[in-house]
Symmetry: C2
Subunit: 173 residues, 2 copies
């Protein structure tokens, strides 16, 4: 599949866990700064593999499984063992830079945890298309619910499952 324009936001996503088309090139300095800070704090180091795995992860820039990343890295000619992929993803998780999610497909997917934008998911159960959305009214109601039960909210996870109406959507999950 080819994606010729890089202006749209959440198209060209056809299957959970596969490498998506790249969107527009984003600025990740905030990411690398936070990473540096974390590595220093934890007495850890940069390394060739670690850096390149992370770059590949940022390339894919969406719901990425360890296997996706491994495949993609290899396709790009990198030598990256599965163990290192996992170790790197766990490092990013520890650094608070990615979130790990289970879409109950067995394998976990990791996504970039942007400091500013949180998003929820609309997932088509037929074709696997994932659309991200954000709804401040829902967020506000969540805070209300949490307060009502005496809980201080740290984060949340909202996934809406359904069937999308794209003409393309015919296949199986």
């Amino acid at each position: 599949m080819q994606c010729l324009t890089y202006t749209t936001v959440a198209v060209c996503t056809t299957k959970i866990g596969l490498p998506w088309m790249k969107k527009k090139k984003l600025d990740y300095t905030w990411f690398w700064e936070q990473l540096d800070a974390y590595l220093e704090r934890a007495n850890l180091k940069h390394s060739k593999q670690r850096n390149s795995i992370i770059e590949y992860f940022l390339d894919l820039d969406d719901h990425v499984s360890a296997e996706d990343l491994h495949t993609y890295a290899k396709d790009q000619g990198a030598t990256a063992g599965m163990a290192t992929i996992y170790r790197t993803l766990n490092l990013l998780k520890d650094a608070g830079l990615v979130d790990q999610k289970q879409f109950s497909d067995g394998k976990a997917v990791f996504e970039l945890n942007r400091p500013d934008s949180h998003h929820d998911h609309l997932i088509c159960t037929v074709c696997g298309k994932v659309v991200e959305f954000e709804n401040s009214q829902i967020e506000r109601l969540q805070e209300e619910v949490a307060k009502k039960y005496g809980m201080r909210l740290t984060h949340h996870s909202l996934d809406l499952f359904g069937v999308c109406e794209r003409p393309k959507c015919k296949g199986r999950k």
Copy 2:
């Protein structure tokens, strides 16, 4: 821990995946009827183990992992292989009587899918306490979001994570 009154709704839950205190005795005839219908439709049978595993599941009546159920069944003096536990839970899932959820702890938890009531979760990340809630305003907004993206909603999953304010809550996850 003892729970002496059976009138409250979601207390006495201390840790994800452990047997909770029983709430008030509920009427599960709707469940058994639906199960019977499914077994007949699928040319399957009742059996001693299957029935007792299901009864234990209904006893626990909350977010139950296969291991929880296995342990509980053994404690009650039943002979139930892990494989049968899984097979039974998958059967209930196929019958549409339970939902499977992944709280990203590695192991899946199963919960009763009551035909009427859907609930979301408030989860304390420190002590693991789970509270169920329902908020019709949130549900309505979800429908709006789905419509906006051209999707027909079938179900959803909303988990709010935070720290609860119970005096008891001190431990680690």
